[in-house]
Symmetry: C2
Amino acid sequence: MSHITLKDIAREAGVSTTTVSRALNNKNDISISTKQRILKLAKKMGYTPNAIARGLKIKQTQTVGVAIADISDPFFAPIVKGIEKAAHQEGYHIILCDTDEDYKKEEEALRTLIEKRVDGLLVTPAQTDYKDITELKRRKIPFVLLGRHFNFELFETDYVATDDIEGAFSATTYLIKKGHKRILFINGPDYVSSAKERLAGYKRALLEAGIGIDQSLIRKGGIKMEDGYKIMKEELKKSLNFTAVFAYSDFVALGVIKALKEAHLKIPRDIAVVGYDDIEVAAFLEVPLTTVRIPKYELGVEGFKLLKRKIANEISSPQKVILPTELIIRKSA
Amino acid sequence: MSHITLKDIAREAGVSTTTVSRALNNKNDISISTKQRILKLAKKMGYTPNAIARGLKIKQTQTVGVAIADISDPFFAPIVKGIEKAAHQEGYHIILCDTDEDYKKEEEALRTLIEKRVDGLLVTPAQTDYKDITELKRRKIPFVLLGRHFNFELFETDYVATDDIEGAFSATTYLIKKGHKRILFINGPDYVSSAKERLAGYKRALLEAGIGIDQSLIRKGGIKMEDGYKIMKEELKKSLNFTAVFAYSDFVALGVIKALKEAHLKIPRDIAVVGYDDIEVAAFLEVPLTTVRIPKYELGVEGFKLLKRKIANEISSPQKVILPTELIIRKSA
DNA sequence: CTGTTAGCGCCTTCAA
DNA sequence: TTGAAGGCGCTAACAG
């Protein structure tokens, strides 16, 4: 477990550590013969460079921190994969922190990630607070927000996300075109930007279709399957005054579907259901789910790419990258 | 982006860096008053310790490397989550590498992870080769294998996995009890330990039931959905001489189900299907999937715990931790 | 209780 | 083309 160092090689080769360093880093102010001799020796001795020492010296770690809400969630996992692939391609590693959608944990994650001196950060902010993010900005630590963002007018940050107004608009419009006039919208927590945007898209679609907005058809706070289930159960106790449900996420839709099934309501015959995200399950459900696809992997890739540019100081003013969504029509609506 | 250092604080406080270090690390060979004075000052100055420098000095990074086959796979993602949670609890971070089930990438991942001087490694080995793992052992770098392992008699390593002989045995026995005598087994690649074990469990169940083993009912090489689909398509072209399918994984089962559906065969009426892993989708399928559950999150947690003990040198001889599987009976068989 | 010295492993001047 | 010296930020002896 003790590693070979430059010094070990230098001693063995009868040169200085500087020379060894030069050889290993393939510099040109060294003779080809000694370079090759040292390279061969290093290999023979099983030398593995110490990136920690190097990082301390050159002040960059080739590592980015990733603070994500829930790694095992089929929505976030592909994002992480995209980040990892893009990072790896550029010679970066990722340190992963799972924040459980909890601001306190997010704050702690960012702090410890900074202690690890990551070159930059990728974050899906919980958004119940944002002191930690402003702190990042104040300290000029490169970071990019993923899938969510703050009001750009008030708090400018780089981010990559999808246009959720557009996504929700197309989903709602689709339902309207199918003849639905009363669409129950089960939204996420209203402090999350994506929930705000989806609500806006939903409203805009209704307005453009000349359908009034009925506040009683807008429910908020759903994010997990249980939320969708609970809210749907409540709604089903009332008189059924809607013909379709638009859910904040596919997970919420899953809960909705479960409640509907228990009530012996057929999808889409009795109630149409549209989700959001297009997680892998969506296509395999008993009634395959119509949903708005978010390019998750690409979100990760683009997130890293933008971060990389930030790190390289190629970006002056905050940049937003908006990826397109796509309405995936299956059987549920 | 330039950080405050001990030296900065020391200068400001009029003490030596050592004293500051002592205060920050809450040592007791320092007066309470100066300790508090320094702590307050450090906070005020916005000090964030440099874990890189610390790591270089104390020769540990409080970081473990995770080389996993596919982060976005619903089988592996919960494992990673388990690792992260367990690691975080002990003050560790994880550096994540996605190996795509490819030995070359795995080898590279391990090498670069070692360069980052992780304190230990968690690996789901691709098993097409194992030089990289032996190298780990030779260099006495603490590591634990996850979900897979090498023949313990030939190559001892620490690992945490499930008893897949038992898992496959219980699944096959269940099918037999349901009256199936001809069970098609679509196995994974035969160099993976879990595939070997599942095959053994399948055979044992048949033997114990006094049913002969028909090699034509054993297919290998399936791991992804497409594999299951392709193999099932092939089998369906022949005369249908089996009444049940036992798939290496739920993903393979998904492919099988798709092929069955296209052939207008009903599950379980015409053909019963049993999967393995119990990924999240399994419960939500049109015909909920009967499968063998692997405690994925726990696998990650136990993996980290064992690694931690390895790192702390609390383990002399290679240790295996076997987690129980559970047959989850749903509708598909 | 506090400071001085030294060094973790590496890279970067600067001289030779 | 090579080496010596210094230092990244931190901690661990060792003195005092």
